[in-house]
Each structure stands twice: as C-alpha cells, then as structure tokens.
Symmetry: C2
Subunit: 243 residues, 2 copies
DNA sequence: AAACAGTTTTAGGTATACCTAAAATTTAAC
DNA sequence: GTTAAATTTTAGGTATACCTAAAACTGTTT
C-alpha cells in the first residue's frame, strides 16, 4: 500500500485542502525516471528535468529525505526508498492509464495526451483509477509503448534498442516512442506508421548519422537520423510481449 | 471568453506551475451559489460554506477584488463581477459535466461523484471539457438535476418547489436533489426512486413536520419530513423541460 | 446616546514551492 | 598539490492559502 502523504505533514495546509502533493509526486516520478538511466540521481539532473533551479531541488530533496521517500547523500545525489518508489510507480500508473483512456475513450490524438495526463495523474482517486483500468481491460502498455505498473507496483522491465542501432537486414517491432516528445514529431511518426506494434525491416543505414531506409507494411520509407533516434524497438527474433 | 487567471498574477508561482487556481475558483463558485439565495454575500456566509475562518475569507475577498472578480463593499459583502461570474459558471460546468460523465461512462454511483468532481473541476482543460460534453451529447442537466451551464456561460434558471411545500393531491416531477448531500441520503433517495425525472403524486402530508405519503410508480411510500425537504420538484401542470 | 453582541477586518504567523545570489564542496586540470 | 571549474548547498526573499487573536466596525437594545 502506498504511503499516505496526507498523514505525513501534520497540521500542514496540504492536509487540509486535500489536494496538492503535486510537487512531491512530480519529483519522485522524475527521480524514478532518472534512476533508470543512472543511480544515484544528482541535483542538477533533477533541476534539468524539472526545469527548476538547483537550489529549489536541494530544498525539495531535503524534504523528501525527511519524509523517508529518498536516501540522500549530501553532494552525491539521491535514490528512492521503497516508499518513494511506490508513490512514483502509482503516479506513473495514473499517468499512463489516463493517456490511454483519453485516446481510447475520448478520441484524443496520441500527441495531445501527455500534458493533460501530467496534471490528472495527481488527482485521480483510487476509485477512478480502478474504473479507468477496468474500462480499458487492465491494459499493460500505454499508447506510447510504456509499460503500465500494476496496482501492486509491478512494472515490466523493457529491453529496447534504438532504431538507429540496427544493422541493415534486421527485423524489429516498434516498442516505444517517448511520450513527452513534441506533438509535431509524434504526429509525423504517426503518419509514417511508426507507432508501437508496427513491424519493420531495416533496408539501409547511411553513414555519418545519415538517414535510414526502412520497410514498413511493404513500403520503403526514408527517415532522418534525428527522428529515427527517438524510436525504440525490439528485435523480432527476441520473444515479444502480448499486445 | 473566460478571463485567463494565469495572466493576472505576473511573476507569481501560480503562473509557473500551471496548476492551482483551486482556491480562487472555489471561492467564486461558492459566492455564485450563495448569491442565488441572497446578494450581496457576507464574509460569514462564505466562511460557513467553505469551512474556513472569517479572516481567511476577508483576505481572499480582497484579492478577488484586486483581480476585479468581485465587487467588494467593506463590511457589507461581495457580488460577482461579470468576469467573476464567467469563471464561476465555467467551473460549475466542469463540475456537472464530470459528475454526469463519471456516472454515464464509468459506472460510478450518483452518491460517489461529488467529491471527485470537486477536485477535477479545476483541472479539466478546454479540450477535455469539450470531449466530455460531446461524449455525453451536450447534456443540459447533471445527474442531480442541476442545469449545466453552456460553454458560453448560459444557464437555465430553474423554478423549484420543496416537496414538503406541496398539498395533498398535487402531481409533480422530481427536479433536483442537492449534489452535496451525504452519500447515505443519496443512496436512500435512489432506492426510493426519488431521482430527477421521477413523477409522483402527494397523497398525504402529516402536520407538525410529519411524514409525507407519496405515490411513485403506482406504489405509495412514506417519507420523513427531513428527507422530503431535500427533494425539489416542479409541479406537473407547469411546462417541463426535455430530459 | 451608550453599551453590547455579532460581524468583519487587521496583524502576525505557519507551511509550500518556487526564485536569486553567495558560500561551500567536489571534481578536474595543471 | 594548488588552482580553477562545476556542482551543490545555504541564506534570504516572494506569493499562496490557511490559521489565531486582537482591534474595529455595525446594528440593536436599553
Ligand atoms: Mn506522458
Ligand atoms: Mn505531473
Ligand atoms: Mn457536485
Ligand atoms: Mn472544487
């Protein structure tokens, strides 16, 4: 069971108005994401990701440490505690369920949902989370190919390759597109057919970060290096996952 | 077009984090509701409704006044300006659309949605508002019988009577149940069939605030005075509205 | 018209979540 | 091993949204 933040700040105004662990939750989510790349997570990486000043990060880190949500080694960075990870995963679950729901149930485009979800993730009650999950048939992946953590905080660990890392002749399935990419790019990828689940074969890779030629649905398409680098794939020989 | 609160607080942290005109919006909504009963609205009535201390209300009133969202006569109370009313009605629209959506699309009970909506009302984007309204076919009434303001801020003015004010023999249609009534009461009313749209006839009214006997669906039911007083109706002879 | 009760405002305080600028610490370079 | 560069922390400040307690104002009663 996720620790109840409301119980942690006795007498604070947060407790009263019900809302507003926005900041704490967003920091924990950010730290979780950054820890995937490299742990412990430094102040400046958090500041970068959250677009705030380093001083602000330090003071939030100190608070999270007091709340036992991160382990904090002054000057060296933080790692999430179990309690912190639990909250992070719950927020991520909310985010990804909401993204999928907005697309499936309300007809949003996959380029429109990230912002909306970044706010809603903090105000979804357990009740609503459950109803949304049920309406979607307890999905395991969000529209961008990211795994949705279970209610119990289990999350599938993915094993992606960058599309740009494949050799000519390789067959692969598109697995993941960063959900925070800008709308323009997401729409472009959508038009190309480069969405999670699409099968492709690499025909050619031009040198010096040049364009890739890939075959999608029998058609061959040319993709710039920058665009291709935002596409993550799984090799087709590897055993896939149910979609 | 509703005034953009984000534009009103230059350099403030509200502007930065995007979220959080919660408090302002809730105050405006409260003032709107209270003005229906009696205008201008005094500090103490707002304090009562919002469950905060009078001093807190005064300082928020002063802020709303600075933002030109209320007209403020020191010691005598406030009325909404056009700009203030616009925001209030938009928040109310969000609230009522969300309540209806949670029931219609996600299977919530009508006793469960008010709390949820009180939070979501502040974080629904224009986009999401539109998609929800479309999914519901641009409804005019929420599940409790309250009219939903239009996108342009038009709201149907209702003309209710308390069920307890009817004489024996009167025929009426249940129009409205307070959406902030406690869940127990709402479930009880639901079981009795006293939900908006239900036709009934008053058979008997016991004196001294005694129970009412009403006929619903051919069955006669006895309802305590307190319960009956929370039910608002329209007389059946009067011309109704489409549901 | 003076006193009183009730209401409202002021004054001063807490906690959040940001900021800037200066001080301290670590890491990298010489 | 100093010095310099980069990172991180501290110190001090802003605005929100609440609080309590004291002061000021209103309306009514005597
Ligand atoms: Mn997202
Ligand atoms: Mn967020
Ligand atoms: Mn409601
Ligand atoms: Mn609210």
């Amino acid at each position: 069971m996720a620790p109840d933040l409301n119980a942690l700040a006795p007498g604070s105004s947060l407790q009263r108005n019900g809302l507003n662990h926005q900041a704490i939750e967003d920091y924990l989510k950010t730290i979780y994401m950054l820890e995937q790349d490299k742990s412990p997570v430094s102040t400046s990486r958090i500041a970068d990701a959250r677009q705030v000043k380093p001083g602000s990060v330090t003071s939030m880190i100190q608070r999270l440490n007091r709340l036992n949500l991160v382990n904090y080694e002054k000057h060296y960075g933080v790692t999430l505690t179990d309690a912190g990870r639990e909250i992070a995963l719950e927020v991520i679950r909310h985010h990804r369920l909401v993204e999928l729901y907005l697309i499936e149930a309300l007809g949003f485009g996959w380029d429109e949902v990230h912002q909306e979800a970044d706010i809603l993730e903090h105000v979804i009650s357990e009740q609503l989370e459950e109803r949304i999950a049920a309406a979607l048939n307890n999905p395991e992946f969000d529209p961008h190919g990211d795994p949705i953590p279970s209610k119990e905080g289990q999350i599938a660990s993915m094993n992606y390759k960058h599309l740009t890392a494949l050799d000519p002749g390789a067959r692969a399935v598109v697995s993941r597109i960063p959900d925070d990419a800008d709308s323009e790019l997401l729409r472009y990828l959508g038009d190309l057919g480069l969405i999670p689940g699409t099968k492709l074969m690499v025909l050619d890779v031009a040198p010096f970060d040049g364009p890739l030629t890939v075959e999608i649905d029998g058609e061959s398409k040319i993709i710039g290096h920058k665009v291709a680098s935002s596409v993550l794939v799984e090799l087709k020989s590897e055993f896939g996952r149910s979609r």
